[in-house]
């Protein structure tokens, strides 16, 4: 996954606001990368562009070699379905569906029949420590469990990359740690590529690499400890 001279402007004319100013970021397969930066630095915008939810104003986003700018809406949706898994600050689970049905939703869109989709959903939920809770509605799960269901859902179609936009932002410290531990496990054991936006340096320190953004530009990019150390020295 790669961005080339990526620009994103919101609004037009006098009200135009340039959020990203020509970003060049390459995410390697199997990498656990965190994106940090103050509010308004363009972290979430970058995530939406990397996840093919949004289109760049300039430059390119290449997902598995595919330039998202040239794709139709339907093709873009297909890229999201096959290659991207999203985890947001809020779990956004369907309250009418059980945990396993929520996890099965991306697979059903992919064309998997209900039964095999639910089998894989149960498998994923078991992997994330939710065995026995597959049939519960989201309202009957704790915040941490809900977010783990959301992670299971992001992994449903074996995506190229899981994008997490402050996935621990709505969790307490214990559950936040748990979610990050899960991410680490997925990267180490399954080689899953994960990119997360986080404000928390402690959690960022557990990733392989940190990209720091400020005012829509990459101000630092490298191994997590080094980038965080430089950030500490500056502050």
């Amino acid at each position: 996954m790669e961005t080339r001279a990526l620009r994103r402007t919101l609004g037009s004319g006098e009200n135009a606001l340039e959020i990203l100013h020509g970003l060049d970021v390459v995410i390697q397969p199997g990498e656990f990368c965190s994106i940090m930066g103050p509010s308004g630095s363009g972290k979430s915008t970058l995530m939406y562009l990397l996840g093919a939810l949004d289109r760049p104003t300039g430059g390119q986003v290449l997902i598995d070699g595919i330039d998202t700018k040239a794709l139709s809406e339907a093709a873009l949706a297909d890229v999201r379905n096959r290659k991207i898994g999203f985890v947001f600050q809020f779990h956004y689970l369907m309250p009418e569906f059980t945990a396993e049905e929520n996890v099965a939703l991306p697979m059903r869109k992919l064309g998997l029949a209900r039964r095999p989709a639910l089998e894989r959903a149960r498998e994923l939920l078991g992997l994330l420590g939710l065995a026995g809770k597959e049939g519960r509605l989201p309202g009957r799960l704790s915040g941490g469990e809900q977010q783990r269901v959301a992670i299971a859902r992001s992994l449903a179609n074996r995506p190229l990359v899981v994008l997490g936009d402050e996935p621990t932002g709505n969790l307490d410290t214990k559950n936040g740690e748990l979610v990050f531990a899960l991410f680490e496990r997925l990267v180490r054991e399954q080689g899953q590529t994960i990119v997360v936006v986080t404000h928390d340096p402690r959690l960022a320190a557990r990733t392989d690499r940190v990209v720091r953004l400020q005012d829509g530009k990459v101000v630092d990019d490298g191994p997590a400890r080094a980038v965080l150390a430089r950030a500490g020295e500056r502050s």
Partner: protein, 427 residues
């Protein structure tokens, strides 16, 4: 597009809020139900009127006049331009109309294919009195046996029989309304004013005693209130018509062909021939207007219900904004999301139509079981409903279409939602 998962999402949305869903379905059902009910009621009245009319009145009536009467000379003269004569206040010449060569004409009519029976009538108005009561009557002179083949009057007799007209020299059969207004029953003797004109007219101003030998009730109030039957010869005497006949009444094998047959007979004989539809065109157009009003009013109910669905679905879309954004981030397209909400609208519409149709049918049975006597154009003891499948189909179509149209707006809106805008707003 794979519809099965979309069906699943739509189904869960509806089932998750049963009260809201039930409310929407009820809205559609009420609109559909009342459209069925009102349409069936209107159709019931119209069918009752038409049935009674085609049974108790001739299908075609040949009159003793022409559709385009010859111009009066004075009228023609006054219409001429550049002349020296001006004619004002010209009165039409008094003319005794009659059907010439009635028996030959009757025979010719009876030979025409599609004609089941025909009979000669003498028709005119007469004043009937009983004590100090005087009532105007539409007197019809008939041959009871022939007449009964044209108009099923005998089946409507509530006292006596039509053939009883032969039982006395001055026998008369009255409509129930007429008998009621006069205050007479079978066996009473009433008086009828004699009209003096005509070759064999009676003495002007004198009355003839008549014996009431029967009473009929067709259920058509305008008929029952004025019509009276006597033998042809008596009617000729009472109306001062000598031996003239001024109507030929015709029954057809198929009453729906009356307009065509009337036109044919008029072309064949020349006398104005009116179908039962033409004779009752005021009432029939009233029914048409009523039907239009019914559809407009009940469509209004349906449209109000559709606005309810529009509201419910807009609220649902607003409530589901994060889930819609999530569905799109999972790869569901705008069309998928639109289809989900359209399916919800379709399901509400379909269930509303089913329950509305059942409710409409059930309400008809219920209302028809109560005695609700009414006397207007027709006389009934309880409400009459006629519900051919067409009524259910039209109501279903209108209700379903308005629901689908109402669902379109929120569904399209849901499909067009930009997930990034929603996610930014929530972050």
């Amino acid at each position: 597009m794979r519809l099965l998962p979309l069906f699943g999402i739509a189904r869960r949305h509806l089932l998750h809020s049963p009260f809201r869903t039930a409310l929407s379905i009820t809205g559609v059902a009420i609109g559909d139900c009342f459209m069925v009910l009102m349409s069936a009621l209107m159709a019931g009245f119209e069918t009752k009127f038409v049935d009674e009319t085609v049974e108790s009145s001739p299908h075609v009536t040949m009159l003793d006049e022409f559709r385009d009467p010859p111009d009066e000379f004075a009228g023609w003269l006054s219409d001429q331009e550049g002349g020296l004569v001006a004619v004002e206040s010209a009165h039409p010449r008094e003319r005794v109309y009659r059907i010439k060569k009635p028996y030959e004409t009757l025979a010719a009519i009876e030979e025409r294919p599609g004609v089941a029976a025909a009979a000669l009538n003498v028709v005119g108005t007469s004043i009937l009195n009983f004590g100090n009561r005087e009532v105007g009557a539409a007197l019809v002179g008939i041959d009871p046996e022939r007449q009964d083949r044209v108009v099923s009057t005998d089946t409507y007799m509530i006292e006596g029989r039509l053939a009883d007209l032969h039982s006395a020299s001055g026998a008369i059969v009255l409509g129930s309304g007429l008998a009621e207004r006069l205050g007479v029953r079978r066996g009473d003797t009433i008086g009828a004013s004699l009209r003096g004109s005509g070759e064999a007219g009676g003495r002007e101003g004198s009355t003839r005693a008549l014996r009431v030998v029967g009473v009929f009730k067709t259920g058509l109030v305008p008929v029952d209130a004025v019509r009276a039957y006597t033998l042809v010869s008596l009617a000729q005497q009472l109306l001062g018509l000598g031996r003239d006949v001024n109507r030929i009444v015709v029954r057809l094998d198929d009453h729906t062909t009356a307009q065509d047959v009337a036109a044919d007979l008029e072309a064949m004989v020349g006398y104005r021939s009116e179908s039962w539809q033409e004779q009752n065109q005021n009432f029939l157009s009233l029914f048409n207007i009523q039907t239009v009003i019914t559809y407009v009013v009940t469509s209004g109910i349906t449209i109000v219900a559709a606005f309810g669905i529009l509201n419910v679905l807009i609220m649902l879309v607003l409530e589901k904004l994060p889930e819609i954004a999530m569905l799109k981030s999972m790869g569901y397209t705008a069309a998928d999301v639109t289809v989900v909400f359209m399916l919800e609208g379709l399901a509400i519409g379909a269930l509303g139509v089913v329950f509305g149709s059942i409710g409409g049918y059930w309400l008809q049975q219920l209302l028809a079981s109560f005695p609700i006597p009414m006397k207007g154009l027709i006389e009934i003891e309880h409400l009459i409903f006629v519900d051919p499948p067409r009524i259910y189909a039209v109501a279903a179509l209108v209700s379903f279409a308005s629901t689908v149209i109402a669902a379109c707006l929120p569904a399209l809106r849901a499909g067009r939602l930009d997930p990034v805008v929603t996610l930014r707003g929530r972050a």
